[in-house]
Amino acid sequence: MNGAINFTYGFSHGVEWGWPIAVYLLLAGISGGALIVALLVRFYKKQQVDTPLLKAASLVSFVTIAFGMVFLVGDLEKPLYFWKILIHYNFSSVMSIGVMAISIYIPLTLVMCLYLFEKEISVILAKKSKLVGYFAMVMSILTRFRPLVEVLSVVFAVVICAYTGFLISVLVRFPILNTAILPALFVVSGLSAGTASAGMVASWFFKEDAHSSDMKTLHVIEWPIMAVEIMLIAMLFVSLLVGNEFQQTTTVAFQSGVYANLFWFGVMGLGFGLPLVLNFALGKHVAHSQMAFYLSGMASVLGVLCLRMFIIYAGQTFGV
């Protein structure tokens, strides 16, 4: 007799979690992705010196997650009450678990910035002789824990990227969101946006040579990351296509309407197509130009933003 009665009216109207959440998801992805890539490069190459890439990644990860908090708290209807999360932990809520991870992760990124900008901060503080003394004392203690902080940073960066996926994959009403692939997709697209951001900042602000060893490494790893990202999106689509009747109706999001345009022009065209064309289709002269480097980096980041927007908006549009 199930199905003999049903209702389709809902009390929420349209997309409840809008663009600020999509922007937050992007910023969290960039933050985690940049730190993961830079630190793994450091571990893999057994680097002892502070490279421009790690400087850039530390700065990017701290700044983006801090801005992310602005969007996250700003999206609350009662932003001034956000501290209630901190005193009423609910361990069954992905949001609570995420907030817990963030409150460990942000100090970690801050400490990473302190390690990498110790000289610069000392120069600024030197004008006030007292402060520079305290700073040197704090840094002498912190430096002892640097290997531990670096490992913890990688672990929590992965947690941050993954939790943003779990945060919305628990929403059972929405077939596009309620999939196992989403957390993995968010980690990989975070790596993609993080790699591009850290590379651009390293080159622009920290004068990293475009043909240095680290930049070459980034250039090599960005393509496999992109390939995995495309594969995960394809898996998401196929899982919906071969799913139950509700899952099948959501595939319209990929086929027609404003979300399909966002997906094909934004995610596929801008995010994957433009970097591929700039780097492989227009010859070595274009591929090695500065313009192509920044353009394809920005296209990657904007592509990931489009992906987050698509997931958030199309996801909440097609409900069961």
């Binding site: 003999a4 009665i5 049903n6 009216y9 009390f11 979690w17 009450y81 209630k84 929405f174 909440q316």
Partner: protein, 223 residues
């Protein structure tokens, strides 16, 4: 026919045995129940009786001070356009799930299960209006109250009529007795008496959240 006596004796034993075992079992259950059985409040919506007058909606908004343009309870007209004379109305409201996703996802424990009654309800002061419960609800029956800026759901008038020992406002207001409210854990309650004799369904049971609302659909067999 010589077997007749034996069969009668066998049936007697069978009958007596089941009566004894049945009552014994029942007494065990009732004794255990006396000590630990908490109430489990539920509601029946009988589609056969609902005429879509929306008196329940009006009463709910008044009693619970729901702002203009918002509802905790909505009567949806699901009449098939092919058969416009066969009216079908459906109650849309919080399904009071036993495994409530809203309670699970709330980061500030504002959305919670009332300790005494087990009813899923809200503490508006602790709500930060993150809307996580609104999007996590499989039934899409939660909303942010414009006035309190807190999420809200039908809580069987827990803080209003229920607190005064009255039935929920919608049940009181229904002239056609399409709504029945009661304790599903109380075997003698009227709601259980109805559920014993009528077929009822849960809405979207595949989500596995075990809703406490029961619907008695119109099943027209014809004349």
């Amino acid at each position: 026919m010589e077997n007749d006596g034996k069969r009668r004796a066998f049936l007697k034993v069978l009958g007596l045995g089941s009566v004894t075992l049945g009552t014994a079992g029942y007494s065990v259950v009732s004794e255990a129940g006396k000590t630990e059985k908490k109430p489990h409040y539920g509601m029946i919506f009988d589609q056969n009786k609902c005429v879509g007058c929306t008196d329940c909606e009006v009463a709910c908004r008044k009693v619970n001070a729901v702002p203009e343009g918002q509802v905790r309870l909505y009567v949806e007209n699901k009449t098939d356009p092919e058969t416009p004379m066969e009216k079908r109305y459906v109650r849309v409201s919080c399904q009071q799930c036993e495994d409530a996703p809203c309670v699970a996802v709330c980061p500030s424990k504002a959305c919670h299960r009332d300790a005494k009654t087990g009813i899923v309800t809200m503490n508006p002061d602790d709500c930060i209006a993150c809307k996580y419960c609104v999007v996590a609800c499989p039934y899409d029956v939660r909303f942010i109250n414009h006035k309190t800026k807190a999420a809200e759901n039908c809580n069987f008038c827990l803080n209003t009529n229920f607190a005064k020992g009255k039935e929920p406002a919608c049940v009181e207001a229904c002239k056609y007795k399409a709504l029945v409210f009661g304790d599903l854990n109380d075997e003698a309650s009227y709601i259980n008496q109805i559920l014993h004799v009528k077929d009822s369904v849960r809405m979207k049971p595949t989500f596995g959240t075990k809703p406490s609302l029961r619907y008695i659909p119109v099943v027209k067999a014809g004349v």
